[in-house]
């Protein structure tokens, strides 16, 4: 990539917190702005251009309008980075699919349900090729910056494909199972610095799962600790319903 790369930061269905996470990188923002040209940033700037090489995309695809927009971004950007759980795995939004779209529309919007242009929620890689994933809910702002730096340098960003247990051990955390809780850590993808277990609660796999999760062993483990089949399904589906792990 020659010269200063042009970057667009886009939002789809989600809470918008991933864009805020980038803005929260406060003391690094000036450096970021001098390393790249930001030509679109929904939550931060009013200017807009369709001329960009890198697209950072947050949110899941859950309306027909979303589908059109993400396909347009896919036709322009040379590199797409999915940011946050909704873009990467479909995130919490995928829970809607478990009800069925019509039922979900009715539950939320009642007799106005026909006003709503909703389709089954999907992560963005069901519609465009995603090159890199900055996962998590919220994503790790330092990881987003690390990916941007790697792209400027022409390197492949290093994104962990090992479970959260690795980060807990590096931090010297007491295993939350030893404290009487349950955790998706053994199959959940790391990269968050074991944020939840480090603060006394089990991991919910908001960064999705590793490439080769031992799903059966995780089910056994949760069942051994007294969880019912419904509880286990909930743990697996909270952030990963679109991935149909169970």
């Amino acid at each position: 990539m020659s010269g200063k790369p042009k970057v667009g930061i886009f939002g789809f269905t989600g809470c918008g917190g991933c864009q805020l996470e980038i803005l929260d990188a406060e003391d690094k923002l000036v450096d970021l702005a001098s390393a790249v040209d930001i030509v679109h940033f929904t939550e931060a700037i009013t200017e807009h251009s369709d001329d960009y090489e890198i697209a950072l995309v947050e949110g899941s695809i859950s309306t027909n309008h979303d589908v059109e927009r993400i396909k347009k971004i896919g036709s322009i950007a040379k590199i797409i980075v999915a940011i946050g759980a909704c873009a990467c795995t479909g995130g919490l939004n995928c829970l809607k699919n478990l009800y069925g779209v019509e039922k979900a529309k009715e539950l939320v919007y009642g007799d106005k349900k026909d006003w709503i242009d909703a389709i089954e929620t999907r992560p963005i890689d069901e519609y465009v090729k995603v090159d890199y994933y900055a996962r998590g809910c919220p994503p790790n702002r330092f990881e987003i910056l690390q990916i941007v730096k790697a792209l400027i340098l022409g390197k492949k960003p290093e994104i962990p494909n090992y479970p959260v247990c690795v980060e807990c051990k590096r931090l010297g955390n007491t295993c939350v199972y030893d404290l009487g809780m349950t955790c998706m850590g053994p199959i959940a993808r790391a990269g968050c610095e074991a944020r939840c277990p480090s603060n006394g609660s089990g991991c919910e796999a908001c960064r999705g799962v590793i490439d080769e999760p031992n799903v059966n062993a995780q089910k056994d483990l949760l069942a051994e600790r007294g969880l019912t089949v419904e509880d286990i399904m909930e743990q697996f589906n909270l952030y990963n319903a679109c991935k149909k792990l169970v």
């Binding site: 494909n161 247990c165 690795v166 051990k169 590096r170 931090l171 199959i187 483990l221």
Partner: protein, 345 residues
Amino acid sequence: MLYKILPRDSYQSFVENLIRNFDFIGPKRKDKATHEFTKITSFGELDLSYKKTTIPPAKQILFPSTEEIVEYRREDNSIEFRPVVEHSLKLLFGVHSCDINAINFLDKVFSTDFSDDNYLSKRRNMVIIGTDCEPRETCFCLAMGKEYVTAGFDLFLSELTNRYFVRVATSQGNKLIEKYASGISSAGEKDFKEYNEKIGDFRKKFKLSPDAKSFYDNFDLIYNDEEFWKKVAKNCFSCGSCCLVCPTCFCFNVRDEIELNLKEGKRIREWDSCMIPEYGLVAGGHNFRPTKENRLKQRYQCKLKTFVDKFNTYACVGCGRCIETCLANISIASDIDSVRKEVTV
């Protein structure tokens, strides 16, 4: 080795003197499940009744989980490197025999074939005082021949009736008791007798007794038995926890972190594990150990065979941490015996 007696009355003031005069690291309760080795500032914080620390005490300091090893700065046509080597004096108090044996193993690893300054500079500046322990359910140091330690410490304290039997292994250790302890005398016949009885009783308390020699002898016979290894590794998460909590595991990965100005950066090493799929992944996408059974077999081979051939010692001290940490209930002690059963039926 010198053998001395420290009266119980002098024990607290001896430890307090050490706390006052050193960067004193010892076991302290962390939460309801564990203890951790951390900076101790008063005698009351120290809890020598500890059974378990998640991370081995010395590994945490000598070979930390994340360690900056180089700083660099790029200019247009040049690059400047500065090695980062930490070496402040630390005193580690309350280390058990298995963990000191593990330090002796790491000392060999980090000084044989190449000399690792980051490890060795910290090791040279570490005072180690060992203490006795009570075996836990998962302890099998006796079976590995690591329940007793004869080197690698400065002082080793064993509690007898109303006194401590002190083994002094270094001149540094001798200076410490001469300077900071009062009422020290040489050990006599009665002291040796009680000490030997204590060690004898300690050796009778172990519940696990895996036959590591049989594993070594039979490993080649079972090496290609895919069904066996699949069964052993069935529930493995490939999470790496067993390696990361192991006092003798030393594998690390190295990565660069660069600032957004693309000029300054640092090189970092961090704990790695042969149980993680990416460990065996090389350029071009080939993975030398693509399955969890490949990886678990490799771990057992490294622990129980490779280093017997290389250093004439097991790379396992039987501390039981991997057994306790494994959420898939995989136990190296049971698997050692499974190998024996598999080849003898």
